[in-house]
Symmetry: C2
Subunit: 233 residues, 2 copies
Amino acid sequence: MSDPAPVTIVGATGALGFGLALRLGQAGVPIVIGSRDPGRAAEAAAKAAERVPGASFAGLGNAEAAAANETVVLSVPFRSQSETLTNLKDTLRPGQLLVDATVPLAAAVSGKATRLLGVWQGSAAQQAAEMAPDGVRVVSGLHTVSAALLTDLDHALDEDVLVCGDRKADKAQLAALIERVPGLRCVDCGRLEMARITESLTPLIISMNVRYKARAGIKVTGLPAELWPASSS
Amino acid sequence: MSDPAPVTIVGATGALGFGLALRLGQAGVPIVIGSRDPGRAAEAAAKAAERVPGASFAGLGNAEAAAANETVVLSVPFRSQSETLTNLKDTLRPGQLLVDATVPLAAAVSGKATRLLGVWQGSAAQQAAEMAPDGVRVVSGLHTVSAALLTDLDHALDEDVLVCGDRKADKAQLAALIERVPGLRCVDCGRLEMARITESLTPLIISMNVRYKARAGIKVTGLPAELWPASSS
């Protein structure tokens, strides 16, 4: 594989974003961690560097972080998603790949983490697509991957990342990035509108984690060996 | 295991119900196939007996079939679910276990099989629970299992059945039945309201099957070995 392009993770001070930063960093991807508070971002970057010596982590405020790289992962609580995208509307630019990992858990409005809110646009990913500036390529993914397992670097991952998006090439680009992490396989789940299904798997998995004291994930059975033919990217 | 009690499958003339009939029959469970048309039910039973010699299959009209056994699987197209339950309201009786496998695909109203209808009660399973007579114990499951793979008896199954229901003992009872089929593991997915999530996996899987020319299923990773402790049944 060629030298990986750097990636920004907005919200990498949270559990999922931080775990993803660790794993991608370990896979050789330079990571910029974005947070509303640049101080917290720098702190998270330092913590990540301690966990993965030799990897590249920097911490910046959200706008600087989002401007820094061509790929931006948005991994914030649903209650902050809309505000974050509003704040980034003069920062995000056409051609960037925006990877939305937001889940509209009812916990955002003091409900349960095992229930989902209805989002007017259909899903958090579709809200992101509506709010992102024209030309930003929005894909959706990472909803079924356990933050705890990503963060536990001794754990050998073996699960799928369900990816939705309106353009095959955008999804293939995300897959190529994520599959640098050993044990993660990306599965094309169709158009962005399918994110209303993949997002709903987070509350299901949270409920299983509670019930079984587990760190559950999803694997799709019965698929062919080659899920991302080069021709599609 | 003790001698299995017989099971009725209403809608076993359809692909999923027929595949389930074959697999349960092969596992030694006597099967009554229900259909609106008793002639078609008898035909399906004969076809099943041909596929699984030595197993027990009978075909009856829906009401006779639903009255015949303590466990009734409802595996009909969503467009027929409400009508079928209305027709069975004087037949189903307290104490029976009703296993709803219905999926509210938009195909029911000439939409796509990769999209879901909104059901007022939340899910097809919750509609079934509302419509079933008091005392009928409703559980939900089987939405992610491929009818084609069930029917292909040469295929070694290796996937999960996601089970929802309001009482643990009812779910454990369904799990004990389904897990007679080698390669099928049941996972407790929580209360019946969670069926709105598990039902939505059918359109997701249908879309994968089309995209990848596959017969996809779901496996939950990261769970403990024992999912149905005897104390819960």
